[in-house]
Symmetry: D4
C-alpha cells in the first residue's frame, strides 16, 4: 500500500508537519515521519532521498524554514513527487526566505510548494496524488470537500 | 492511459505552458491543452474542473498571471491534484501577485505551486505524479535526471 | 430600495466585515450578510454572484484573506460593482497575498479594492456608490465627512 | 446624464488614462478628462474635487504614480466615489509606491483602487457604478462580459 | 526667532511626534504642535501650509501613517522645508506604505523624509536646518553629537 | 554667501547629482561638487564632512547606491543638514538597498532622504533650507512653484 | 595566537553578539568585544578598523541594525576579513534595512554577511576562517559538525 | 600554497564567477573552477565538498541563482569557509530568491554571503581570508585598497 514519507529539517517544525500526518491518517493513508536536516545531516538526507522509493514511499513531504534546502535537495535525489512546506520558523524573515528557497527551483527538478505553514494542505495534496491511482482515497477526498462545504454552512449560524 | 490536462488563463500564457506540454510529450505522457479563464469564462472553468476526472485526466496543470485565480478555483472544484504555474505576465508586478495568489491557498484546498514561469517543472511534476503508479514513466524520470547530470558535465567544457 | 450584499470567505473575517455593515446601517443603507467561500463553496459562490442583481443587491462587498479569490471571482460573474476587502487573516503573509490577489485583476473584470482590513471604508465606498443615485445617502455622506473634521478638532484637546 | 471625470497627475499618465476614456466611450458613458496635479496644482485640485458633483460628474477616476496623492486627496474633498489608478511611472519603484499610497487610505475616506496601470478596469468600474442606476449601461456591461467569453473561445484557435 | 511647526495626521501619532518636540525644546528651539489631517481636514491643511511662513514658522515637521499624504501635500503648498515622518500606525503594512507615500515625491516638490517612526531625528534635522543661520543652535548640535559619543562610552560598562 | 556641497559615492552617480547642481544654479545658489566614496576613500570622507562647515558650506547633498553609507556617515561627522539621494545604481536591487541604507538612520543622526534618483528634489530641498535665511532664494522658490503650475496648464493642450 | 574582534553598533545588540563570543570561546578562539558606533563614534570606528590588524586581531565581526553602516565602513578601513551581522533592532523594518545595508557592498570592499540575527553563525564563520591556518580549530569545527548530527538524532526521540 | 575552489550551479553563472577568478589571479592566489549543481549533480556536490580540504583548497566560493542551495549545502559538508554569491539568473525574482536562500542559513552552518552578482567581492573576501595567514597576500590587499582610492581621485577629472 502507498505510504507518504514526512520529513522536517528540525524538530521545531513538528507542530506544522503533524498537521500533514493527521489529515493523512484521517484519510486512511499510511505515513512515516522523521527529522532529516539538509544542513546538519546532509548525508542522511542523501540516503533517505535516494532510497525512499525502495521502502514503499510514494510521495515525500518535506518541511523546512529559513534557507530551506531540504525539499529541493530531496527532489534532486529521487524521482518521487516531493511536496515542500515553507515554515515560518523563528529564524525566518516573515517566511519569505522559506517560500522562495523552496518554490524557486530551477528547471529540471520540481518541488510542489504549498502555502507558508501549509502542513495540512501538504497532506491533502499527497492524498490527491495517491488518489490518482487509489479510488478509495479519491472517494475520501470527494467526501472531504463536501465536509468543507458543510462547515461553511454551519458557520453561518454565527452571523 | 493517464492524461494531463493543461489549462491557461490567457492565450498569452502559451509560451510558458507549452514547455509543460513539450516535456510531458517527451516523457511519453498524453496531454490536452485549453484556454480556460477564471475571470472571463468562469462557468466554463467550473465545468472543466468538475468533469476533468471523468474525461480521463489524472493531473491538471493551470497557469495564470496577476491576480491568478485559475489554479486555486480549479482545485476547489476537483479532487485531482492541481499544479499551479505563476506566470509573470505583462500585468503582473514582477510576478509577486501571480505567486502569492496561487501559493497561499487556505487550509483544505491545496495547489502544488511551482516556480515563476515554471512551465517545464509543472510538466515534470505531473510526470512524477503519474510515475507513482506508472513504472514506465518512473524509469523515464530516472533517465531524465541522469541526463541532467550529463549536461552539467558537458557544460564544463566551456570553462 | 438599494441594498448592499456583504460576503466573506470565512466566518473568521466577520470582525472586519461587520465594520462595513455597521457604517452602512448608520448611513441608512440596507445590508445582507453571508459566508460564501470561493474555495470551499465554489458553486454557492457562482449562484450568489450570478443572481445578486436579481435580489435587489446594487453593490457587493467581498472580503477574503491569503489567496483571496472571492472578490475577483464574484466580479467575473456579475455586472454589479464589487468592492474587495483584503483581510490580514492568520494564514496571510502580512496581508501582501490578500492585497495582490484582490487588486491585480486582469483587464476586463474590475474589483474596487480598499485598504488592508478596510471593512469600514468598503462600507463607505458602497454608500458613495449608492449616493450617485440616492440624494438622501449623498447628504448623509456629506454630513459624515463634516463629522470627521469635527472629530479632528476635538482630538486637539489632547495636545 | 451621468458623466465620469477622469483626472491624472501628469500628462505622462495619459496613455493609461486614455484606456479608461476609451472603454467608457465604447460603453456610451460621457467623460471629461483633465490634468490635475496634487503637488503642482494643489489648489486647482481642491476646487475640482469640491465642485465635481455640481458639474454633473457622478464618478471620478484619478490616476497618479510614485507618492500618488491625487486619488486620496480628491476623495477627501468630495462625496462622489473616487476610483484610483496606480501608475507605474518612470519615478516609481516598480509601482509599489503608487499602489500603497493610493490603496492604504485611512478609515473614513475610501478610494476604489484598481490594478497597477489598470486604466481600462477603472473605466469598467465606473461603468458598473453608473449601471447601478442606469439599466442601459447595465445591459452594455452584461454584453461586454459576454464578449470577453467569446474572445477567449476565439483565442483557442491559436492552440 | 525661528519656530518649528509640528503637525500630525492623527492624534494617535502624538507619541512619535512628541519626540520631535522634546528634542527641539531641549535644543532651545521653539515649537508649535497641531493635528492637521490631509484626508479629514483637507482645507485646514491648505490654510496651514499656505500661511505657515507668515506666522514665523521656518521648518515644518509632518508625521502620518498608511497612505500618508500630509507631508507631501504640505510641501506642495509652501516653500518652507518640510520634514516627513513615516509612522507605523495600526493601519499601516509594516510601515512600507507610510514610507513610500512620503518619500517618493515627484520632481519639483521635495520632502525631507526621515526613518520610520523617526520623530526624534525629524526634530534633530529641523534643528540642523535652523543651525544653518543660528550659531547658537549650531553649537548645541555640536554638543549633542559629543554627548552621543559619551553615551556610547558609558554603555561599554555593560560589556 | 551660502554654498551647497554636493558629493557622490561614484562618478557613475553624476547624471543624477548633476540635476541637483543644475536646479541650484538655476535658483542662484552656489555649489561645489566632488566624488567622495565612503568605502573607497573613507578618510577623505571624514575630512570632508568634519570641515565642510568651515569652508562655507551650509548644506550637504550626498548621493550613493547599493549599501549607501555616504549620506549617513557624512551626517555623523557634521552638524550641517545632510540630504541623502538614494541612487538606483547598477549594483542596486531595484533601489531598495539604496533607500533603506540612507533612510533608516538611528535616532541621533538624521539624514533628509529624498526619492530614489531624486537629484532634482535634493537640490530643491537644499534651496528651501537656504531660503529659511535668504529671502532672495525664498522668492525664487515661490516663483518656481508657480512655474510648476504653469507647466501643468500648458501640458493640458496635449489632451 | 589569532584573535577575533567583535564590535557592535549599540549595547542593545549585545544579546546577539554574545552568541558569537560564546561559540568562539567554546571553540577555543580568543575574542575581544566592544561597542563601536559608526554614527555616534565615527572617529573611534576609523581608529579601531585601521589598527585592528596591529593588535593581533585576525577577523572582525561587526553587528548593527537599521541603516547598518558599521560592517561596511570597517571593511573599508582594514584588509582583514569582516563578518557582518544584520540585527533586527527595534528601529529596523523587519530586518530588511539591516540586511541590505550590510550585504549590498560595492565591488572592491567585501563584507561576509550572515543571516539576520546570526551572531552564532558569525562566530562559526570566524572560526572556519581561523581554521584555514590553525589545524586545532579545524578539528574542533569538524567535531562541532558531528555534534550537530548527533543532536538531530537525539531530537528524533520527540517524534 | 593556498588555493580557492570556485564552483557554480550552472555554466550560465560563469560571467559573474569569472570575476572572482580574475581578481584572485590578479592578487596572486591560485584558483580552481568547476560547475557543480546542487540539484542536477547532488552526489558530485557531496564529494566535492567533503574532499575539498584534502585537495589543497582553503576557501570555497559557490555561486548560484533562484532557489540557490549550492553554497549552503557545500558549507554543510565541509569545515572550510564557504563564500556564497547570489546570482540574478534568468529564473530569479529580481535576485531576492538567490539572496535569501543563501543568506538565511540556520544556526550551525554559516555561509559568508556577498552582494547580488558580487563575484568580484567574493574573490576579494577569499583573498582577505587567505591574507590572515599569508603576509604576501595581505600586502597585496593593502595595495589594492590604495588603488581604489587612486581610481576615485582620477574619476574626479570627469566632473
Amino acid at each position: 500500500m502507498a505510504k507518504v514519507g514526512i520529513i522536517m529539517g528540525s524538530i521545531s517544525d513538528l507542530p506544522i508537519m503533524q498537521e500533514a500526518k493527521d489529515i493523512l491518517t484521517e484519510l486512511g493513508v499510511e505515513t512515516e515521519i522523521d527529522v532529516v536536516s539538509a544542513h546538519r545531516t546532509p548525508e542522511k538526507m542523501v540516503e533517505y532521498a535516494k532510497n525512499a522509493h525502495l521502502t514503499g514511499i510514494s510521495v515525500i513531504i518535506a518541511g523546512a524554514g529559513g534557507a530551506a534546502h531540504l525539499p529541493g535537495m530531496t527532489a534532486s535525489l529521487t524521482s518521487l513527487p516531493v511536496i515542500g512546506v515553507p515554515i515560518k520558523s523563528s529564524n525566518s524573515i516573515d517566511g519569505w526566505d522559506s517560500i522562495l528557497s523552496i518554490l524557486q527551483m530551477p528547471g529540471g527538478i520540481p518541488v510542489a510548494t504549498v502555502a507558508l505553514n501549509g502542513g495540512k494542505n501538504a497532506g491533502l495534496l499527497a492524498a490527491r496524488i495517491i488518489a490518482t491511482f487509489d479510488q478509495h482515497v479519491f472517494h475520501k477526498m470527494e467526501a472531504y470537500r463536501n465536509e468543507l462545504q458543510e462547515k461553511v454552512k454551519e458557520s453561518r449560524t454565527k452571523l
